[in-house]
């Protein structure tokens, strides 16, 4: 081909390709970034197409899709469906509809860059409020961006006490709320209440002298405070309760790291068995480590009761993953169970299983469901979706003016933290962990709490003693 022909051809091709790329870039990248198209979904909306953004309560979800995020979004969808199908929310006289959307933060893998990108993409969509969060360390990185943009954030998955009790209290994060789970301080209080009012009386009643305990915990933001509380509590009880002789000297602290393998746990349990402690208190959030923990308990069969937080215990296949013996006697806190602790709990549970093809709702999904409901109520009370009105509306839920969530009474304290059950303050059946143990048929049952929650409110089963521990 002649040189000049080549040249003309090249120029034409470049012009065509360049224009194509330009148009494509314009269409794909610029337009969806908020130029007219409505990125929200309206599940359950009965009308044509989508309602206008001005008549929408825009709620976003920031979570890790591949880990819990998908199920959380289902919880959100179910709640929004109910509200939209019933005609929306009454805000200042006009019906508003719930619009939901999600961005994947990939936070379970500590991916800060991606989490920030997702947060900024979410901010571009201009939501009224964002819910979600799972990994406290990553949440701590992206929430300041939301605060600086003036968007409230309601966490459905972070237990770090400091987020509300320090950051909200000192106004660093003025629009941060927590709806699930209880903060680790309340988890600790529940834990201590359980030990004091149920476990210690049961154990000393059988003639056991408690003179040694181990706290096994992961070193995360939210577990370290809990560990410290427990440690101090165990030291304090020994002065007061007969048969309990625990103190700083005979309570062992065992931190665990994600790099530990099954053999490491076997080694740990071996040392524990040799130490003669009667109590093992795990604070484990990593399900892998939790599985190894249960396996180890089964194989060593020490003369000890295990009671604590083991997230793996909450998962549906804990029984099949660890040899069954270990599961049956371990007592663990659970965020939610299929019990009629509220008017809609059982119906929701079953509907969730149908919607997801057989998965149990995780606590984040329950939190998301409750969040949509309370946001809808808050906007009705406040009469608008503007920032300060919405925040004021949410703040209006307190111990005297609470709302029924799924399985609990729902309200916030002065630091936007979800109010937890507190028998000492006369607050029953607010957010509380449920104490569970597997029974002989391999079904998880809620066991008595020693008065922490109203036993009429939550039906419970009997507590079982490990068969290998022959008592005097």
């Amino acid at each position: 081909m002649e040189q000049s022909t080549k040249r003309i051809l090249a120029i034409v091709l470049i012009a065509v390709i360049g224009t194509g790329i330009g148009i494509g870039a314009w269409y794909f990248l610029v337009i969806p970034a908020g130029e007219g198209e409505n990125p929200y979904e309206y599940p359950g909306y009965a009308g044509e197409g989508k309602p206008p953004l001005s008549k929408t309560i825009k709620v976003g979800l920031l979570d890790h899709t591949a880990v819990y995020g998908q199920l959380t979004y289902v919880g959100m969808t179910m709640s929004a469906t109910e509200i939209n199908a019933a005609g929306g929310v009454d805000v200042g006289g006009t019906p508003y509809y719930i619009g939901i959307t999600m961005e994947d933060t990939k936070e379970a893998f500590y991916n800060y860059d991606e989490a920030l990108s997702a947060t900024l993409r979410m901010i571009e969509k201009d939501p009224d409020i964002v819910i979600g969060g799972f990994r406290s360390e990553v949440v701590e990185t992206y929430v300041p961006y939301l605060m600086q943009a003036g968007i409230p954030f309601m966490t459905t998955g972070c237990a770090t006490t400091e987020f509300c009790q320090t950051n909200v209290a000192s106004d660093i994060w003025p629009y941060f709320f927590r709806i699930m789970p209880q903060n680790s301080e309340n988890l600790g209080l529940a834990f201590m209440d359980y030990l004091e009012n149920f476990l210690f009386p049961n154990m000393t009643g059988e003639g056991v002298i408690l003179d040694g305990a181990t706290i096994m915990y992961e070193e995360l933001i939210w577990t370290i405070d809990l560990k410290n509380m427990l440690y101090d509590f165990l030291n304090a009880t020994s002065m007061v309760t007969p048969g309990v002789r625990l103190g700083y000297a005979n309570v062992t602290l065992k931190p665990i790291t994600p790099s530990m393998g099954a053999l490491d746990f076997m080694a740990y349990w071996g040392v524990f068995g040799g130490s003669g402690h009667q109590l093992m208190l795990p604070v484990i959030s990593d399900p892998t480590l939790g599985n190894y923990f249960g396996m180890g308990y089964n194989l060593t069969q020490p003369n000890a009761i295990v009671a604590g937080i083991n997230v793996a215990h909450q998962l549906a296949d804990y029984l099949t993953t660890t040899p069954a013996m270990g599961c049956q006697y371990e007592i663990s806190m659970s965020g939610a169970e299929r019990v009629p602790s509220g008017p809609n709990q059982i119906a929701f549970w079953d509907a969730f299983k149908v919607a997801t093809g057989g998965y149990d709702p995780v606590y984040t999904a329950i939190g998301a469901y409750d969040a949509i409901k309370i946001i809808a109520n808050a906007t009705t009370i406040a009469g608008s979706t503007a920032l300060n009105d919405l925040v004021a509306g949410l703040e209006s839920f307190n111990t005297t003016n609470w709302m029924f969530g799924l399985g609990r009474k729902l309200a916030f304290d002065e630091n936007h933290d979800v109010i937890a059950t507190n028998p000492d303050a006369g607050l029953y059946n607010f957010s509380a962990p449920l104490w569970c143990q597997y029974n002989q048929e391999g079904v998880k049952h809620v066991i008595p709490s020693g008065g922490f929650y109203d036993d009429n409110f939550i039906p419970n089963d009997m507590f079982r003693w490990p068969y290998w521990w022959v008592l005097p």
């Binding site: 899709t65 591949a66 880990v67 819990y68 998908q70 199920l71 289902v74 379970a108 893998f109 062992t252 602290l253 065992k254 931190p255 665990i256 790291t257 790099s259 530990m260 393998g261 099954a262 053999l263 490491d264 076997m266 080694a267 740990y268 071996g270 040392v271 068995g273 040799g274 399900p287 892998t288 599985n291 190894y292 194989l299 060593t300 069969q301 998962l315 993953t321 997801t356 093809g357 998965y359 995780v362």
Partner: protein, 295 residues
């Protein structure tokens, strides 16, 4: 009781690490190739067997055979497509095997993440259930099976390399590549064979050990580092050295648990193999039994 536990667990982990590290050492000793996808072979085999079992298509032994064959195939493909063309460039080989490991990890993550439930760790069914009583301690029978199987595999390997013709060819290539070529040995074929062998060894290690130690998709790097530290300790290119190094590292880890009685002994034991690597590199880079290279 503690001593028995240390012995058994340490021996079991040591056997598995030996099988894993011997493959890595073989590839380096014979071909001068640092195969950074060694850890990825380990987890990939485990995941393939797990997926086949979960899908309920085939029985467990068949799933194992399929897994091992697939990983052998991957080894062949790795050599032919990735390593052979850029063999002269040592750093390039490291980077390309690293890219392969990265690819494998991402592929597993994509598949595992596509299910609505959270990404969980996986474990395989142990061959032996129940426990055995050894001198008063209850030990899971699977650990004994692991040790026996690993010993069988290693002895077969040693016999193979010492006695068979291919083994002789392997030893020849490891001593002097060019001379072996002159003697008519197809060096490329031998290198490919060695790489495949190391992949299959990693696969064996996975099948044995993942039954007691579940894995996550990003554990590949951990196992790669452990096998590298074992090989460094024992000497790059020395097979007996790798076996010795494996036992040293695994026993030191458990001794750290039992004998170092401070509250944070777990965290310290987790960095033992890192400290070993650094100390060995500073003071004796050629390892305990390695050939001394000119520095």
């Amino acid at each position: 009781m503690s001593i028995i536990s240390i012995l058994v667990y340490g021996a079991a982990l040591g056997c598995v690490l030996a099988v894993l590290a011997v493959g890595f050492s073989l590839v380096y000793g014979v071909g001068g190739i640092i195969n950074l996808s060694h850890g990825a072979y380990y987890i990939l085999t485990a995941y393939i067997v797990f997926w086949f079992i979960n899908a309920n298509i085939v029985a467990y032994p068949i799933a194992i055979i399929i897994g091992l064959s697939l990983i052998a195939l991957l080894g062949i493909v790795t050599y032919l497509a990735l390593i052979k063309p850029i063999q002269h460039n040592e750093i390039g080989v490291m980077i390309v095997t690293f890219a392969l490991a990265f690819l494998i990890e991402q592929a597993i993550l994509v598949y595992e993440g596509s299910k609505p439930e959270e990404i969980k760790d996986i474990s395989l069914i142990p061959f032996a259930k129940g426990q055995i009583n050894i001198f008063g301690t209850q030990i899971d029978a699977q650990y004994i099976v692991i040790m026996i199987a690993a010993v069988i595999i290693l002895s077969c390997l040693i016999l193979f390399i010492k006695k068979s013709r291919i083994g002789k060819a392997i030893r020849a290539v490891s001593q002097d590549k060019d001379a072996a070529k002159l003697m008519g040995i197809n060096v490329n074929l031998i290198l490919m064979f060695v790489l495949t062998l190391s992949a299959v060894l990693a696969g064996f290690a996975a099948i044995l050990y993942v039954s007691v130690s579940p894995i996550y998709p990003n554990y590949g790097w951990e196992y790669l580092l452990i096998s590298m530290s074992v090989v460094l300790l024992g000497g790059l290119g020395s097979l007996p050295g790798s076996v010795i190094g494996a036992f040293i590292i695994s026993f030191s880890r458990f001794i750290c648990f039992y004998l170092v009685d401070i509250p944070y002994n777990v965290a310290y034991s987790g960095i033992i193999y890192l400290a070993v690597i650094i100390i060995m590199l500073i003071f004796r880079p050629c390892g305990i039994l390695g050939k001394k290279e000119r520095t």
